[in-house]
């Protein structure tokens, strides 16, 4: 946590001057059938400072936006207790709450803030969780996301992903022939959005390193595609691949040592592995068809990728050691940009069903049973990226004439949309866990 806070403080200091554009807002469009009812009571401010964040409100938004919870409106609360002795369980039972969260913010003397929170089970009248989080005054939002993670895990059994971030690309039409592309970094909920790259030429395929410290992406800023690696903390970046032809679809190996990428320097798109230390390139596919969109299995032993070697784009898995190649998708006439969940069991992808006309949707395939479920009905969905807890996929889709981000849980029960204030939004990539 402390490390994270230091990182954040540094980033805020260095990047705060960058104007914020296209901030996203998360809206749940479909939640679970009977969401858990929880009251997040406003935290008492005992610090004598004006706080930059309403911690309880951020927690309330996080839990509400997960689709699993239905937080109580503050207006309906009969009291705002901040200590256990002031919590009257009968009141909360009358309000039909399952759980209550209270908390307080205090100054520690060393310039930090101490956030104490407590989670109660209303029916059993017991305390489930009590904890104290120390942060700098600028880190209050991080503290709130941390508390959300803890409560979410305690009550659902699923690891929370509220402390994670997303990157995405925005495009704005600046006139007949001019566009402005931005690579954006934000909290998972769209807050604290920052521009980390701006260019009049296309930016695409941002990919997180597994430790969350770096991004690889494709930028056309020289007029041609090149692959760059950018350090998030410093903004420092390096062009690492710019062969003639395609330079695309970078994907970090789980150990961070290698990048899988696509080059067409040998005549047509093939997948290569670039050793980031030795800069040695190893070609791993050999076929005159299109081979692209590589992604690593979580164990780093194999790559999945899109190939049209069978006549249509389908997803294949290549074992890097044995060179064994296996086609994974058979349902539908277009399956592309596969991504595996961290346990390696589920494959998400862009899918078009047989006879499905023009519809491109996000589908998930259980690799154990090969059952395929179509998660969206959007028609123009692309770029699925899985949250590190493996429960939600964020993707890009079209709403009216605008590109927007949306998300859906892997079981299809919860759906969100994340409209932006301006421009076209696309290419979301969900960070790994950041601490």
């Amino acid at each position: 946590m402390v490390k994270l806070i230091q990182l954040w403080t540094f980033m805020l200091a260095t990047l705060f001057t960058v104007p914020v554009h296209a901030e996203l807002v998360v809206e749940v469009t479909q939640g679970v059938e009977s969401p858990t009812r929880i009251a997040i009571v406003p935290f008492a401010n005992e610090s004598a400072l004006a706080l930059s964040e309403d911690v309880a409100q951020v927690v309330e938004q996080d839990l509400g936006r997960s689709g699993f919870f239905e937080p109580m409106s503050r207006d309906n609360m009969l009291g705002f207790p901040s200590r256990q002795q002031d919590v009257f369980f009968r009141d909360w039972r009358i309000s039909r709450m399952d759980y209550v969260v209270i908390g307080r913010v205090q100054a520690t003397g060393s310039g930090e803030l101490s956030v104490t929170y407590e989670l109660f089970d209303v029916l059993r009248e017991t305390s489930l969780l009590t904890e104290n989080v120390s942060v700098t005054p600028e880190g209050l939002r991080d503290a709130a996301h941390f508390i959300s993670d803890r409560i979410f895990e305690e009550l659902t059994g699923l690891k929370g992903a509220f402390s994670t971030q997303i990157v995405y690309v925005t495009a704005e039409q600046m006139g007949a022939d001019r566009q402005r592309f931005r690579l954006m970094l934000a909290d998972w909920d769209g807050a604290r959005a920052q521009t980390i790259l701006e260019s009049p030429q296309p930016i695409l395929s941002p990919a997180w390193s597994m430790d969350g410290s770096k991004l690889a992406y494709v930028s056309f800023e020289t007029g041609k595609p090149s692959i760059y690696v950018q350090h998030l903390a410093t903004g420092q970046r390096e062009r690492i691949q710019s062969f003639p032809g395609l330079n695309g679809a970078p994907a970090w190996s789980p150990d961070g040592q290698r990048l899988a990428l696509v080059l067409s320097r040998d005549g047509n798109p093939e997948i290569y592995l670039l050793n980031l230390q030795t800069r040695e390139l190893q070609r791993v596919t050999r076929h005159y068809g299109i081979d692209t969109e590589p992604s690593w299995s979580p164990d780093g032993q194999s790559l999945i990728f899109t190939s049209d070697r069978g006549g249509q784009p389908q997803i294949y898995r290549l074992n890097l050691a044995t060179r064994n190649l296996e086609r994974l998708t058979f349902e539908g006439n277009y399956n592309a940009r596969g991504r595996l969940t961290q346990d390696g069991r589920f494959l998400t992808m862009v899918h078009r069903s047989q006879g499905g006309g023009n519809g491109f949707d996000i589908a998930v395939q259980d690799l154990k049973t090969d059952r395929v479920d179509i998660l969206t009905r959007s028609g123009l969905a692309e770029s699925p990226s899985i949250a590190p807890n493996g429960s939600v996929v964020i993707y890009a889709t079209q709403e009216g004439t605008r590109g927007v981000l949306a998300a859906v849980s892997l079981d299809g029960r919860v759906q969100f949309r994340m409209p932006a204030s301006t421009g076209d939004v696309r290419e979301p990539a969900w960070s790994p866990y950041l601490r």
Binding site: L204, P225, L246, R337, L380
Partner: protein, 179 residues
């Protein structure tokens, strides 16, 4: 392996050109004789343009002014990278201009419509640009005169999300870097 593939590709493309040549036999035989004479160029320029696709007859010298008459955007079917026959005559003329003007160079920008994934479309755009590139090369352009860049679905010509816009966006744009 790579060479073999390329040879195959060239063979296929050549066959396509040959087929195209056959389908327009009347104009090409005329052009052929003019080509062997190779003298009387321009002047009667207007008459040498075929009424159909506005191309310049085969074998004739292609002038800088002629280029203005030639098609520079070539369209494709969904998930396909086969140059349509309508484009052959004009591409052949571009190729001939390049062959006659070694200092000239073109950039082929391949594009895809928005359907499907971005990186796959990037590859598709390149495949389309390469298809045009091969047609230019088998018709006399030198490799140093042609460069291909794919923009995938990133730079649509039409912003709409309908079949008409998609058809206009699946394209290769031929741009002269120097004439």
């Amino acid at each position: 392996m790579r060479v073999a593939n390329f040879t195959k590709a060239v063979a296929i493309t050549s066959a396509m050109i040959w087929a195209a040549g056959c389908s327009t036999t009347s104009t090409t035989t005329d052009g052929g004789s003019a080509g062997s004479a190779n003298g009387g160029q321009s002047g009667s320029g207007a008459s040498s343009y075929g009424a159909s696709s506005g191309g310049v007859s085969a074998g004739q010298v292609v002038t800088r002014e002629d280029l203005n008459q030639l098609q520079t955007v070539f369209y494709f079917d969904f998930d396909k990278a086969v140059v349509r026959q309508q484009g052959f005559a004009d591409l052949e003329a571009h190729a001939r201009y390049l062959a006659q003007n070694p200092g000239a160079a073109v950039r082929l920008e391949g594009h895809a419509d928005e359907r499907g994934t971005r990186e796959y479309n990037m590859a598709l755009g390149e495949r389309r640009a390469k298809a045009v590139e091969r047609l230019l090369m088998v018709n006399g352009a030198a490799s140093g005169q042609v460069e291909s860049v794919s923009f995938g679905e990133e730079k649509p010509a039409m912003i709409g999300h309908d079949a008409a816009s998609w058809a206009k966006n699946r394209r290769v744009e031929l741009k002269y870097l120097s004439k």
